[in-house]
C-alpha cells in the first residue's frame, strides 16, 4: 500500500515528506542517527543504519503523517515502530512451537472445555494446531517484550545507581509523569529537569557502547 502522492488537507503527501527529508540539515540528520542508535540499543532488533533506512522507506511509502506532526518526529516514530515490531518478530522466530504444549489432541468439532491457553486465557479445545502455534508465538512475543523492557530498566538502574535525582526521574517517567508533575516528583526546577532528561536520553548511548564492547 502506497501513501497518497498528492496528499490531503490533513496529511502530507509522499512527495512532501520526500521534500522535507531533502530539507533536513546536518543537525537534523545527526538527531535522526542518534535516535536510530538509541532505538537500536533499546530494542536490540536491528542496527541503527537498518532502522534509519527502513524508517525512511516507510515514511515515503506505507505510512502517512498528519500535517500537525513535524516530519522529523514522524521519521523518529516510524523508526521506533519498526524497531519494536522487529524485536517482537525476532523473539517469535527464535522459539519454535513445542507440540508437547498441547495436552489434548484437537478433534474437529470438539466443544468440551479444554486446557486453558495461558497466554490469552482462551480454551484451546476447539482450536487447530496452527491456531495454538499462533498463540504460542504471541505468548513468546509478550515474554520477550517483558524481558527486553526489564533488561533496559535494569541497565538504566545500574547506570544511575546512587544518583537520587536520576532514579526519581526514571521512576517518574515510567509512571507517565511529564512537565511540572515530573519536576515536582523529582524535586527540581524546570532547568534542572531539562538537564536530567537529556542525561537520560544519552544513557541509551552508554548502554549501546557497553553492548558493543561486550
Amino acid at each position: 500500500m502506497q501513501q497518497d502522492v498528492v496528499g490531503t488537507d490533513e496529511r502530507y503527501s509522499a512527495a512532501e515528506i520526500s521534500a522535507a527529508l531533502d530539507g533536513f540539515d546536518d543537525l537534523d540528520w545527526n538527531r535522526m542517527n542518534a535516535i536510530a542508535r538509541r532505538l537500536s540499543a533499546a530494542f536490540r532488533s536491528m542496527t541503527a543504519d537498518e532502522l534509519l533506512s527502513e524508517g525512511i522507506v516507510a515514511v515515503l511509502t506505507t505510512r502517512t503523517c498528519k500535517r500537525s506532526v513535524d516530519p522529523r518526529a514522524f521519521l523518529a516514530e516510524s523508526m521506533k515502530s519498526i524497531a519494536s515490531n522487529a524485536s517482537k518478530k525476532k523473539a517469535s522466530s527464535e522459539v519454535s512451537f513445542d507440540p508437547a504444549l498441547l495436552d489434548k489432541p484437537y478433534r474437529g468439532d470438539d466443544r468440551d472445555e479444554g486446557p486453558r491457553d495461558r497466554a490469552v486465557g482462551k480454551t484451546i479445545a476447539s482450536k487447530g494446531i496452527a491456531d495454538f502455534a499462533v498463540d504460542a508465538n504471541e505468548l513468546d512475543r509478550r515474554e520477550a517484550a517483558f524481558e527486553l523492557a526489564n533488561r533496559l530498566q535494569t541497565e538504566l538502574d545500574a547506570l544511575f545507581a546512587g544518583d537520587e535525582e536520576m532514579r526519581f526521574l526514571l521512576e517518574g517517567v515510567c509512571e507517565g509523569l511529564r512537565g511540572s508533575e515530573l519536576s515536582e516528583f523529582v524535586g527540581v526546577d524546570a532547568a534542572r529537569l531539562a538537564t536530567l532528561r537529556r542525561r537520560l536520553a544519552r544513557a541509551f548511548d552508554r548502554i549501546r557502547e557497553r553492548e558493543m564492547a561486550s
Binding site: Q2, D26, N30, R31, A34, L152
Partner: protein, 127 residues
C-alpha cells in the same frame, strides 16, 4: 502505578526521542550527517526499483490477461476494468496504487500509465 515493563519501556523511549529531537547542545557531525544522507538516497533508489518491479509484474499480469482476452475478450475487458476501479471509482486493494480504499487521483492514474509505458519500452528493448 504501572507494573507493565513494556509500558515503561515505551515511555522511556518516547522521552528519549523527544529529548533527542529537542537537543540543542548536540554537537554537529558532518560525516555522521553525510552517512544519513547516503542512506536516504539509497532508500529512495530502493523505492524506485521496487516500484519498477511492481509495475513490471503488473504488465506481466496484464499480458496473462491478454491471453485470456483471446478466448473471451468481453469478459477480460470487464475484469480489467474491475481491477482498475470499481463503479464508484474507488481503488481496489489489489491495485498497485490503491490508497486505503480512497479514490484514485488523476495523478495516480497518470503515474500508473507512465510506469506502464516505460515498461513497454523496456520490454521492447529487451526483445
Amino acid at each position: 502505578m504501572t507494573s507493565d515493563p513494556r509500558e515503561k519501556l515505551d515511555r522511556l523511549v518516547d522521552l528519549m526521542i523527544e529529548e533527542t529531537l529537542a537537543d540543542e547542545v548536540l554537537t554537529p557531525d558532518k560525516a555522521d550527517a553525510d552517512k544519513a544522507k547516503s542512506i536516504l538516497e539509497a532508500a529512495k533508489r530502493r523505492i524506485a526499483r521496487d516500484r519498477l518491479v511492481a509495475a513490471r509484474q503488473a504488465v506481466e499480469a496484464r499480458k496473462n490477461g491478454d491471453r485470456v482476452v483471446s478466448l473471451d475478450l468481453a469478459r477480460a475487458r470487464s475484469e480489467l476494468q474491475q481491477a482498475l476501479s470499481d463503479k464508484s471509482g474507488e481503488a481496489t486493494p489489489l491495485m498497485l496504487a490503491a490508497r486505503k480504499g480512497r479514490v484514485l487521483s488523476e495523478r495516480d492514474k497518470d503515474g500508473l500509465a507512465a510506469d506502464l509505458e516505460e515498461l513497454r519500452k523496456l520490454e521492447s528493448d529487451d526483445t
